[in-house]
Symmetry: C2
Subunit: 288 residues, 2 copies
């Protein structure tokens, strides 16, 4: 267990989006709040969270076995190359796959398009006791759709409201919704796209369409500003993770998740059977 | 990378169920074929597989991005406490959560019962490039259902055939189906159930119904013998994993999965775009 329970909410306080109008240009992409150090230190700090993360994850999972409804939904959003997949691999990878449900949202299918935008999202929610992770999410429907003007303003307005109502319901019924915007600079994106082109092991990750989308960088930043502002609620606030440094980004998401799980204050559930009686049954059963 | 490519199929050869009538009592639960050593050595051997497993998993995932259809389905079966969850946590946990789909099959829902037994199984299959893991599976429908006589013999016969045809189709369309029976002794099960009762952190895993089911141990062994025998096909053979030692069990499943992935001989896919052209586009785009 780590020894830093005193600063339980220090990170959340620092990364939580401030209230009011959002200007992403004013929020740092390369800062490392709360965690001093460098890459090696950050990777060690991340690894050090693993044991407690897995322990608390299992406690939540155990509670679901005895009727508990608590669960966590981590929503990862960010520009291409901001590291959503990297967070899943390095931070979420510290948890046990048993109590995880990860959904990577792609372009909607025909069937999905036949329903309102939250339909497919709803079907991907984690069950009781499970940590769910969305790699992209319902926010794409107010980002891509706004940038490419696929829907009009009244429809966007309707969606912000629908998102807020939907997330509020989740929270009211036992889910912690941890929304992380992985914030990178345009320069970082270019460097990472170039790195993909340079490395034969990574060329598969590159799509020419990524460069097309990059032409809309400022429009996307504006769409994010509106979405973050409109959907920053008490029930489900946004956290803005400086994500130019991968080691910081991974640690910060893992640490926010750890803090969320700690906040549930879950003991191991008490058995709903008589332990001595069951022990006697098993011991009598000397050879099945 | 490990240095043991020479014995690529040595483990598979040893653990593959022999042809002919199956007698589980003749198959060891506490042996450690191919891997000499002890718990600490076994855990090191398991950890040593992680890097290559994740690398090959990512190659398969990359191929799906460029139209590849290859994928792997790991089917985990075994008596209560045989370690299906432990294999997921310790062996499958070495892979990246990005390209994993894990399904733990519980008692069917009303909707699931409204369809043939393979309906819900089919819906849980991994997509292209993904490693799927079934913690329990369609085999429950020829195990629990046989032991508790929930269906008659002709229906069981129909199911064995249906399973074989279904698995054959999967294999023919690009899936490796890796079926692992985690084989423990009745004594090991009793010890593990008692250990759950003794540990307040594990009492939630214990259900009095586990002791009831244990009364049917011999019936379950017989049901497994028939299922293993009837569904041991060239397309999708069974592997019997000695599972009394957790460290061996975890290593053996990881190693069989590694051998399966190696067998695909996947290079990184070649880019389907002009690298120099894309690099020029990005460099021209000095400030998005």
């Amino acid at each position: 267990m780590s020894d830093d329970r005193d600063d339980r909410y220090a990170l959340a306080d620092q990364l939580r989006l401030p209230p009011g109008p959002v200007r992403l240009a004013d929020l740092p992409t390369d800062a490392t709040p709360v965690l001093d150090g460098d890459k090696a230190g950050g990777q060690r700090a991340l690894a050090a969270l693993g044991e407690e993360l897995a322990d608390l994850q299992e406690r939540m999972y155990a509670h679901a076995y005895t009727g508990g409804a608590r669960r966590v939904l981590v929503v990862l959003q960010g520009m291409d190359t901001s590291g959503k997949g990297g967070v899943v691999e390095k931070a979420i990878g510290l948890l046990s796959p048993n109590g995880l449900r990860i959904t990577s949202f792609k372009k909607p299918t025909e069937e999905e398009l036949g329903h309102d935008f939250l339909w497919r999202i709803d079907r991907a929610l984690p069950g009781p006791g499970v940590v769910g992770v969305f790699d992209r999410s319902h926010y794409e429907d107010v980002l891509v759709h706004k940038v490419h003007e696929l829907v009009d303003e009244p429809e966007l307005e309707r969606r912000y409201e629908a998102i807020n109502a939907w997330e509020k319901s989740l929270v009211e019924t036992g889910t912690i919704v941890l929304k992380c915007f992985l914030h990178i600079s345009a320069d970082t994106q270019r460097e990472r796209l170039l790195a993909r082109l340079d490395d034969p092991d990574k060329q598969w990750k590159f799509k020419p369409g990524d460069v097309d989308e990059r032409q809309h960088w400022r429009d996307y930043q504006r769409a994010y500003e509106t979405a973050l502002e409109r959907c920053h609620t008490d029930a489900a606030p946004w956290y803005v993770i400086p994500a130019d440094r991968k080691w910081y980004r991974n640690w910060a998401v893992a640490r926010l998740l750890l803090d969320a799980l700690r906040g549930m204050e879950l003991d191991w559930p008490a058995p709903d059977y008589d332990v001595a009686e069951q022990r006697a049954r098993l011991e009598a059963d000397s050879d099945a």
